[in-house]
């Protein structure tokens, strides 16, 4: 009985993690699903968001301005990837890796050469929005939920505008988009910047929630983001084509991911294995549609 009670006690923490990572997954959704680009910049830009937020707050800057700056820094990172891809013709995946590598140095510079900057609410009080401990978990949950809500609402609006529509069509069909007068280089760069802005926002919230910015944070973040996108899609895809709801399901996917994570930790599985597990889960989900289509194709031939 006590065991179940303890397990339930981990749930709010999982939801909080899920909400913060959900924003990051929304960023991944923008590139991976809408623009049809696998952008690896996010591993670096999530940490950039963290670093900028932590450095600014510890230097006495208002938290809202710090979050805004974190977002701008993330957008800048996306811009770099976008320009490497469109101006220099480097394949998107490689452009992302290059920016990611640049960001590791940049992040270290931002953090003044330190690998870790503490940012706890205990020390900084009201200067930090979200508490890292479990003491004010419900306040944290409300704030994180509000962030997700506002970001989803804004993106829903944006992707319904003419500019947003041109981003979507770029991801769907390049030839058609150019024939319809869309500068597809511009839309790609714009989408990458937008995506990494959202990812860095997620990073700035995670810095508060973790109580620190860490230079090694974000390694493999893309896999967690993809996992959230895929889980959200697998569970709820058939329910609706409404865009706002789809983004909401991505956040749900992130929450489920962290819920499973917490449970696995609770059971006592060594945490070193978790990244392996995440990668296997993502590989399976990405591979299943392909295998399915092959099996069905074979059946058709025989029939």
């Amino acid at each position: 009985m006590e065991l179940i009670f303890n397990w339930l006690g981990t749930l709010p923490g999982a939801v909080a993690q899920g909400l913060a990572w959900g924003l990051m997954a929304i960023g991944v959704y923008i590139t991976f699903k809408i623009l049809d680009v696998a952008d690896l910049t996010v591993d670096g830009s999530i940490c950039t968001g963290m670093a900028v937020c932590a450095v600014l707050v510890t230097n006495g800057v208002n938290i809202w301005i710090a979050i805004l700056c974190a977002m701008l820094a993330g957008m800048l990172a996306g811009l770099v990837t976008g320009l490497l891809h469109t101006l220099l013709g480097i394949p998107a995946i490689l452009a992302g890796i290059l920016t990611q590598l640049m960001l590791w140095s940049t992040n270290l510079l931002i953090m003044g050469g330190k690998a870790n900057i503490a940012l706890s609410r205990i020390k900084y009080g009201d200067k930090v929005l979200i508490s890292s401990g479990s003491s004010e978990i419900y306040v944290s949950l409300a704030i994180l939920f509000a962030f997700c809500f506002v970001v989803i609402a804004l993106l829903y609006w944006f992707f319904g505008t003419e500019l947003g529509m041109s981003l979507r069509s770029t991801g769907c069909n390049l030839e058609m988009s150019r024939a319809q007068g869309i500068n597809t280089d511009f839309t790609k760069v714009f989408g990458l910047a937008l995506s990494n802005g959202v990812v860095a926002l997620s990073g700035s919230l995670l810095a508060q929630q973790q109580g620190a910015a860490d230079i090694n944070f974000g390694r493999g973040a893309i896999v967690i983001g993809l996992a959230a996108v895929i889980i959200g899609e697998a569970l709820f895809q058939k329910k609706t084509t409404n865009f706002a709801l789809r983004l909401f399901f991505v956040v749900c996917g992130a929450i489920i991911y962290w819920f499973v994570f917490q449970t696995v930790v609770f059971i006592g599985l060594p945490t070193e294995l978790l990244k392996m597990l995440s990668a296997i889960v993502v590989a399976l989900f990405l591979g299943v549609p392909f295998l399915k289509s092959r099996v069905f194709a074979k059946k058709k031939k025989r029939g």
Partner: protein, 264 residues
């Protein structure tokens, strides 16, 4: 309306795969001309359309549309003057977007895409009216994903999208080739209707000689990067497939080498 002046184009220059498609090709289309283009395999029909649209750049020569020199304009900037329909029905529309979203993307062609809401109820009503013209029942399927429609339906909508902003020039690249004969006839009928109603200047590549004779006011025949036949007006109305083939052999000194054209 369209003026192609002495254009040259060679692919893979300086390699073993070098292919010279055009060496000094010129063609002028008058305002309101509906020109059908026919020719053998590798004659350069599609390449000509792609050069006009800006998908490839010319090595030499100039292209004018409505008096404007577009030779150096990138493809997306030329789009404000040009409407296009491709051979592959999947190429002209975005499969993962709704019918009305596709139409809205076309509706924004030629002006800066800002953060204006893309589809208002007024737009939706307008799209519905335009879809009614097609007579395919698509006016009730505005929120259907494009990918769920048939090739003919997609091609018809692509046509509508191409004609939407009354382009100076409409480029049709074998746009009925991938359709079954009945659907192809329907799409051609819609093509005629849209060109007539909007008074468009059009260039239509086709592999079907009968279609090439039956549609438009002018027919050009291409062979090895040259225009070998150019027949317009009354004279064009008298053409038959046989006389056209005979003319071709006479003009080019070669047999017409397009299996699909001969079989259909």
């Amino acid at each position: 309306m369209l003026e192609i002046k002495n254009i040259c184009k060679t692919f893979n220059e300086g390699t073993i795969n070098e292919k010279k498609v055009f060496d000094d090709l010129s063609l002028t289309l008058e305002d309101g001309d509906f020109v059908t283009v026919i020719g053998g395999n590798g004659a350069g029909k599609s390449t000509m359309l792609n050069l006009v649209a800006g998908a490839y750049s010319v090595d030499d020569g100039q292209i004018f549309i409505d008096g404007e020199d577009v030779t150096k304009l990138p493809e997306y900037k030329r789009a404000k003057l040009i409407g296009r329909v491709f051979q592959d029905p999947r190429m002209g529309t975005a499969s993962d977007m709704w019918v009305e979203e596709n139409m809205s993307v076309a509706d924004s062609r030629g002006h800066r895409r800002g953060v204006r809401w893309a589809i208002t109820s007024k737009d939706r009503e307008r799209y519905r009216e335009q879809l009614k013209i097609l007579d395919l029942g698509l006016e009730n399927r505005l929120t259907t994903k494009m990918g769920l429609l048939s090739g003919g339906q997609r091609q018809a909508i692509t046509l509508l999208m191409a004609a939407m902003k009354k382009p100076k020039l409409l480029l049709l690249d074998e746009h009925t080739a991938a359709l079954d004969p009945k659907t192809a006839a329907k799409v051609l009928e819609i093509t005629d209707k849209l060109i007539k109603e909007n008074n468009l200047t059009a260039l239509m590549v086709t592999h079907n000689m009968r279609d090439a004779i039956a549609h438009g006011n002018r027919i050009i025949m291409m062979n090895a990067g040259k225009i070998v036949l150019d027949i317009k007006g009354e004279e064009k109305k008298k053409l038959t497939v046989e006389s056209l083939l005979a003319e071709f052999t006479k003009a080019s000194g070669a047999e017409f080498s397009n299996d699909r054209a001969l079989l259909s």
